[in-house]
C-alpha cells in the first residue's frame, strides 16, 4: 500500500491523490451547472419505483431523530432540497431525480454518525456526493465528525463490475479540506 499512515488515518485511500483531483474537477463541473441551473440533479438510473417506506423524523440542533427509532436507513434529498429517510431510494423520491442519495446511520440522540453514497437507483459519484455533503453540512444534517464512506466500482480482468471499493473513508472534516474552494 502507498500513502503514509497519517494519510490513511485521515481517511485518504492510499494512492488516491489522482482520484481526489478528479473529484475536484467533477465538483467544479457540478458547481458550474448549479450556477446555470440552480441545482444539480442525480437521475434515477432505472425506470422504476420500488416498494418502500418513509420514516417520519425531527431535525433539530444537528440531530435527526426518527419517530420509529430506526437509526440506519436510506436517504434522499429531493429536488426541492427536502430530506427524506426510509427504505427504498426510488420510493422516497417517487422515481424522480434527486440532489442526494445514500445511506445514513444515526447515533445516540440522533447524531449523524455515518453516511455513504450507496444507492442502486441513483449511484451518486464521488464528486456528486462530496458536493451534496457540503450542503448537508451547512444545513446541519451532518457534522465534522460524521464518518463518510464514498464508494466507487471496480472491474475484474474480465470486465465485470465485481467490487465496490471505498475511495474515501473518514470523518467529513478531512474530506472537506481536500475540496478546492
Amino acid at each position: 500500500m502507498t500513502g503514509s499512515s497519517s494519510e490513511v488515518s485521515k481517511g485518504v485511500a492510499p494512492g488516491s491523490q489522482g482520484s481526489i483531483e478528479q473529484m475536484n474537477a467533477e465538483i467544479q463541473a457540478i458547481a458550474n451547472e448549479e450556477n446555470l441551473n440552480g441545482r444539480h440533479l442525480i437521475k434515477n438510473k432505472y425506470n422504476d419505483v420500488q416498494l418502500g417506506k418513509e420514516f417520519s423524523f425531527t431535525h433539530k440542533n444537528g440531530r435527526i431523530i426518527t419517530k420509529n427509532g430506526i437509526r440506519s436507513a436510506n436517504f434522499i434529498i429531493d429536488n426541492s432540497g427536502n430530506l427524506h429517510i426510509g427504505n427504498g431510494h426510488s420510493y422516497l423520491a417517487h422515481g424522480q431525480a434527486v440532489q442526494a442519495a445514500g445511506t445514513i446511520k444515526l447515533g445516540h440522540g440522533g447524531v449523524p454518525r455515518r453516511i455513504t453514497n450507496l444507492s442502486g437507483h441513483y449511484q451518486p459519484s464521488a464528486g456528486e456526493m462530496t458536493r451534496y455533503l457540503g450542503k448537508m453540512h451547512k444545513k446541519g444534517l451532518i457534522n465534522d465528525n460524521t464518518w463518510v464512506d464514498i464508494y466507487a466500482f471496480d472491474k475484474s480482468k474480465s470486465g465485470y463490475i465485481t467490487k465496490v471499493k471505498s475511495t474515501y473513508s473518514g470523518p467529513y472534516k478531512y474530506l472537506k479540506r481536500r475540496i478546492k474552494k
Partner: protein, 126 residues
Amino acid sequence: MNKIKYDKTVFVNNFKNIMLSYFDINSETASYRIHPNYDASKGETGEDSVFRMVILSDENIGNKKISFEDAVEILTAFEPHYPTKITITKASEDEEPVFNISCSTRVRKPSAIADMGNGYSPFTAK
C-alpha cells in the same frame, strides 16, 4: 453462523467444498450463471440495492457464463458482507459443466447470516 472467523477465504472454501461434496467436481473447472433472487417484500439497504442493481444487473452479468474466479469476485463484492443465501444447481453437463447460482440480493455480516446446517454457509445445493 458458528462463532469462527468468517472471511473471504472461508467463503471461497465453502464454495469449493460444496461443489466437491454435492457434485463431485472441482469448482474451478466449471462455469456459472448467477441469477439474483430478489424478495421485494423485504427492506433493502443501500448495499443491497447496489448489489442487486449494479453487481447482479443484467448489464453486468445477465445470463453470462462466468468463471469460478469471476463468480467469487462478484459474490464477495461487499466483503466482509456476503449474500444471505446462495443455492447452486446443475444447469447442464457438456464438455464444460455449467451451474446456476441463485443468489440472494441481501448482503449481511456473517453473524447475521443463517447457518445452512451443512457446514458450507451461505451455500446450499440441489
